[in-house]
Each structure stands twice: as C-alpha cells, then as structure tokens.
C-alpha cells in the first residue's frame, strides 16, 4: 500500500500563467481567480466575452485567456449589452470597480439591470479609486480619509456610501443580486459560489446577475495587506452587509 499525491488546489485554466500587476495583497487577484474558476466550472472559457472597465482591473485581457473588449470608464454594461445582443449564445461579463460602476457608470448599470440584460456583473468594491491614487469613491465609508477627503468623508457634503447590491435589487430586470467578501477562506468559498450562480443565472437566461465583492486596496488605504483584510471585517462588512439581496432565479 502506497500513498500518492493528488493536487487539490491548482491554478484555474481560464487564468493565464502570468504574474499580475496588482499590489501585494490586493484582492482583485482573488476575485480574478474566482471568476476564472467559475468559467472552468462551466467550461465556457472559449465562449466567454469579458468586458474590462477602467480601473486597476483594466488589464483583464492580460490575465484571462478569453476574448475581451475594453470599455470606457463606467460604460462596460453598455458595451456588454451591445456584445450580448450580437452574440446571445456567448456568456458575457463585466468586471468593474466602485468608481467605475457606482459613480460615472451609474446610469449604465441601472438601465442595463433594468433591461434585464443577460449579463454577469462582477463589482469589486474597495471603497476607493485605486488606479488613480486613492480618491473618494461613492462607496467610501463615512469618515474614511482619502486623497480627496483629507479629513475623512463627510456625509453632509460628500454624500453617503452607496449600497449597489441593495439598489439594483430594487429593479425588475435584476434576477440575482448578492454581496460577498474574500477576507476569509469561508467568505472566499461563499464568494466563489455566488459568482458561479451569477454565471448560471445568465446561462439559464434568468436575467441580470450582480455580484458585489468587498475588496481591499492596501496601497491606497495605507495599510498592510493583513491590516487591510482586517478592515474588511471590522468596517466594511458592518456597513455593507453580506448576503443575497435578490434571487429571482428559482
């Protein structure tokens, strides 16, 4: 009787064999992996069209081994709509940051959801504009210091953090809306499930599917990756509760 080694965790096929440009501890990497795992799971890597937004995740095509269209800042849902209408048979997803989706792209995401476009939207909410150097995002927490809120976000003048998963769940076209995190192994597993379900929803033609993933930006938060990860649990999740906000897929 011998024992032999079985690999129980490996790099998903849909992910290219390349190091990312992300900062150490940036969870864009984790989210990328989960999206890749979902494509592997459904075996749709060669069909899928990814629509990249403008943000630190702009290099989608560099990391995923799939066809990619790069959209202008905030317009990924509109670009994806055009693509999906031409190729109804191909899975299409957008990957957007909180500045991209919840600020400049507000009208596009709301109307795309409202039209019930058969798309999967991955929303990486890291409460800041990462790529441009840590300015306030619509999702920045009250009191959060950013490069444009030097004394902390003042809700009286800067407004309140927007809760996209909740907002979009109020639209009839939205079939699935969920918020997850990737700060702990357990949350990572739940996030993986949610992303899979968001693709399933599209493949089943059930409607618009939205996954908000709470993510870290150690660089612009001025924290170590471990401390940043802790902030997700201590500050973000309490304000942005995890959970399924709408599931009309049944």
């Amino acid at each position: 009787m011998t024992t032999e080694m079985k690999q129980v965790f490996s790099r998903p096929d849909s992910l290219k064999d390349a190091a990312t440009h992300f900062c150490p501890g940036c969870q864009h990497g984790t989210i990328h992996r989960l999206v890749a795992e979902a494509m592997d799971y459904f075996g749709i890597k060669d069909q899928t069209i990814g629509v990249a937004s403008v943000g630190c995740s702009v290099f989608l095509y560099g990391y995923f081994d799939i066809d990619v269209i790069e959209a202008p800042h905030g317009r990924a849902p509109a670009v994806a709509t055009g693509a999906k209408r031409v190729h109804p048979g191909r899975p299409v997803f957008t990957y957007q940051g909180d500045g991209d989706l919840a600020a400049i792209g507000t009208a596009e995401i709301i109307h795309t959801a409202n039209r019930g476009e058969l798309l999967t939207v991955i929303f990486a909410n890291n409460t800041t504009y990462g790529m441009t150097g840590g300015q306030m995002a619509p999702t920045s927490l009250p009191g959060q210091k950013t490069s444009t809120t030097p004394v902390g976000r003042n809700v009286a003048t800067d407004g309140y953090p927007i809760k996209m998963a909740e907002l979009l769940s109020g639209l009839d076209g939205t079939a699935y809306s969920v918020r997850v995190a990737v700060d702990t192994p357990k949350h990572v597993m739940q996030a993986g499930k949610a992303i899979r379900k968001a693709f399933q929803t599209q493949l089943d033609g059930k409607g618009f599917a939205f996954v908000e993933v709470l993510s870290t930006c150690p660089t612009n938060w001025g924290m170590s990756p471990v401390a940043a990860n802790q902030r997700v649990a201590d500050e973000m999740i309490p304000y942005f509760p995890l959970g399924v906000y709408k599931d009309a897929t049944a």
Binding site: I66, I69, R75, V86, H87, G89, A107
Partner: protein, 354 residues
Amino acid sequence: MTKRLFVKGNEAIAMGALEAGCRYYFGYPITPQSDIPEYISRELPKLGGQFIQAESEIASINMLLGASSCGARAMTSSSSPGISLKQEGISYMAGSECPGVIVNVCRSGPGLGGIDASQADYFQAVKGGGHGGYHIIVLAPDSVQEMYDLVMLAFDMSDRYRVPAMILADAVIGQMKEGLTQHRYVAPDDLAPKDWALIGEGKAGEQKVVKSLYLGDGELEAHNNKLHAKYAVMQEKEVRFEAVELDDAELVVTAYGSTARIAKTAVRLAREQGLKVGLLRPITLFPFPNAAYQKYASNGQKVLCFELNNGQMVDDVRLAIPRSEVAFYGRAPGAGSLPTPEEFLAQICKHYEA
C-alpha cells in the same frame, strides 16, 4: 425594387442602413432625427435584428462599440447635442480601430440652441471633437437619395479601414422628402473578413482583444502613426466630390450638404445670367478633396465658400489652395435663418464682378 419611393431623408438613412446589412441599432430620441430610430424600431425586428432605445447617447455609442467589436454592422444616430456626448466613445472607437456608423442630423447650437438645420458641427466631425487627434470618415449627403447611398458607403469604408464613419446631414436633408430609388446593396469584394473581431461562437485559439490602451514604450506612438497612415491612404483612394460646370468656371462656388443644394440653384441662375460659375461639392469631408480644389481652383479662379455657420470648411479649402483667393459667405444657423438661392446668387454676382 426599382419603383421610386417618396420618403424623408431620415427614413432613407434607415432604409440604406438596413439594406447594407446593419442589424443592430442603438439610439436615443432627439429632434430632428427621431424618424431614424422610429423607422428602425418598426423594421429591424422583422429582419431579426436588435433595436435598443438606450438610456442616453453615451450608452448608445458604447453599445455600438460593443456590437461592432463583435463584428456586426451597427449604427447609432443623433443630433448635435447628443453627438457631443458621444465624443469620448467615438475617440475610443477610433483608438480601438472599431468600425461603426454614426449619423449626425445637425441642429443649431451652441447648447440647446434650436432644431433648425446647421452646419456648425463641421469642425467637430472632421477635426475630431473627441480627444487624441484621431479622425473619422465623414460623408455629407445633399439629397434623400444620397442619404440612402452614402450610408451604405459609410459601412463599407468603415469596415475597410476599421475607422468609424459619420454621416453629417442636417435638419433640411433629414426632414425633406424626395424621390428615392432603392437598390440592392452589393458588398465590395475587397472587404476582408473581420478576423480581428469577437466573432462566431467563441475564440478559435487565439485571444481577441479590442482596446485602445497602449502602455509599452513607443507602442501608443506607433499605434497613432498607424492610424494616420490609414488616413493618408483614404486621402489617396476614397475622396469623393461632385463637380458642377467647373471646367470653364471663373468663380468656383463650394458648399456641402444642404447649402450645396441651395447653391446648385444659385449656380444655375448665375449661368442663366451668363456668368462662368461652377460648384465643387465635397461628398467626403474627411478625407477632404484637396486635389479637386487644386485642379479646379488654383489657376486664377476665385473661390466662394457657402456654409450654414460662421466659417468652418472654408479653413480646409484655404489649406488646400493657400495661394487662391477664397471668399466666405455664411449664415449663423437658427430659426428663420436658412439662406435662399436668391441670397447666394447675390453673393455670386458680387464676387464675380469684384
């Protein structure tokens, strides 16, 4: 399909686009072009195509970017203020070498302005209203028939060069009705398959990427030079213009679109008076018919440029023939400010004598 129809210019554009195989349209209502989405919303579904009334002009142009990236023939249309909103998207399409047709049925501005015909968006169309120093193909129909014909040409040129193409019309050409002779669209046989696009049921081996981001040393410069090299080729091969009685003309009138129509009558009236006057009408505003001006207007002829604005195309005319005398007569657009043939004739006589 040879029977002559009697239709609006806007409808002719829609008919021409569908005939040219356009199966995806994305738009947002705005006077004086709403007949286009209205017609297409009726007819496109019958052809199995997709019509989307988007939430905005910005969404429309980006849906166009998405659809064209997938290899489809697609179109959007709007009027001046809406076209201004599309400038970022047009710049992205140009940078991504993404074809597609954009129709601007111009109205008068600036700002909300009014809904009357205008040619004041010439600079925006030909110089690049968006950022980054790109150009797009710009075609200027002057009749309902040309609305139909040129939109087909726009799709072909756009696909050939992977450069977005614009139909630059205005409220006169869009709202007027004339006879239209429909004809079958025939694809030019030099059109290559779109192997750059996200076509078919999935990527066949290599990854397809449509993007405008170039970060490596020298990459973006090379990309820009490539784009401008294509513009040079278009300048060689694609220029179109109409020459009316130019061979013996001593005064060369030049105008495009609706003002060219008005000028045609003025030129006829001038000829009836025995004046040696002709008309040079650019059909392609970009590429601009520089050679035509050099041929017809750089040997002592005087040039008189008519526009429905305060002077825009006249710059390109002067750049084409720097040593010729080029006069300009324009009317700022607005309600009740459409020039008449009689008015143009008076200008012709004035500059002819002088």
